[in-house]
Symmetry: C3
Subunit: 145 residues, 3 copies
């Protein structure tokens, strides 16, 4: 009978979720790779996917190289599409919403053998594109077995 | 033996899926938040993720604030990157495909205690970037336990 | 007791994963739709989602129409946002990272009755935006039952 009980326990490990709260300055980001790695370890899930979702409509999640000069370049590119000082129909943070929409508010990382399967130059970063410092809520959900 | 039957039933609740069909005018959108909430309720899944996928290559799914003036601003920004009246190599709806590629055709929302865990200003919107009104098919898949 | 063993076997089918390696020229792409279909078939998962993730920070995954002229148009649009010959703060491939960030390094496709539920004009393409040919690693994870 032990094996069936094992199945039962394993079943409840299919989904594991934790919420990260992090204060981020305007047009800046926080690298949450370490925190997400901890959550994946806590989940005890060996194979599956890890979904990182920011619940703010002026924030975004990016998986890319965490290199300060590159982030400046990315912001310069977003400035072309959604400039800060343009006149918008919406209130003063329209550009924040648009930058968030382009980068996207969620990303997914594969899990292999209990670890995030990130590429050599990949880090998980949360951006705050809003006009002032904000505490951002990021829901990390691990799905697998 | 009851507990094993319980496991068996629970198991088949790990994935639940429904397809939404919605007519949307060109360069417009439909807010499907209420419909997705209904599907999550029908799924009886308590914790996990809800994946919203549009199967059209000139459509997109966006999670952001549903404020008409903001949507106009977003369209103005997309017009900079993929203008309607530019001459393209592809047939007349190249800009539709490009706008769809930038916003993305799928988004994910966490599920907590049987409800979508959307942020305060987040709504789920399906965009039709094609040159004319189209019926859009959106597959909503709930994964969890 | 047979039904419980069935449950046990099904359980281990909830997640299935394979890695695709594909050489792609600079600013070019590879259509991996057929390979992903094979993986979904191998998974024996009937209903759920298929997550396609590229682990390179200068690559991207796109689900759209595989039409060569359209891809040229998409690249022209990305050139507006992140031009190749602009002077960046980061090393010579900043534009590669930015293009990857805009298109995104992962995409999701629903699975229905054991098949990818792609729209009529949707193909799964991996882009290499780096400055030279690279072997790209794409992790395909099938989650469902």
């Amino acid at each position: 009978m032990t094996s069936y009980l094992f199945t039962f326990n394993q079943f409840f490990d299919m989904v594991y979720s934790e919420t990260i709260k992090v204060k981020i300055k305007s047009q800046s980001f926080s690298d949450i790779t370490g925190k997400v790695e901890d959550i994946v370890r806590d989940s005890e899930i060996e194979d599956g996917v890890c979904v990182i979702i920011s619940t703010g409509s002026t924030s975004a999640v990016l998986i890319n190289e965490n290199e300060p000069m590159l982030i400046e370049d990315l912001k310069d590119s977003l400035e072309k599409v959604a400039p800060k000082d343009e006149i918008y129909h919406h209130s003063e943070n329209a550009y924040s919403h648009i930058r968030s929409s382009i980068i996207g508010n969620s990303k997914i990382v594969p899990i292999k053998n209990g670890n995030l399967n990130l590429g050599e130059w990949q880090e998980i970063m949360v951006f705050n594109f809003d006009t002032e410092e904000r505490e951002r809520e990021v829901v990390v959900t691990v799905v697998g077995d």
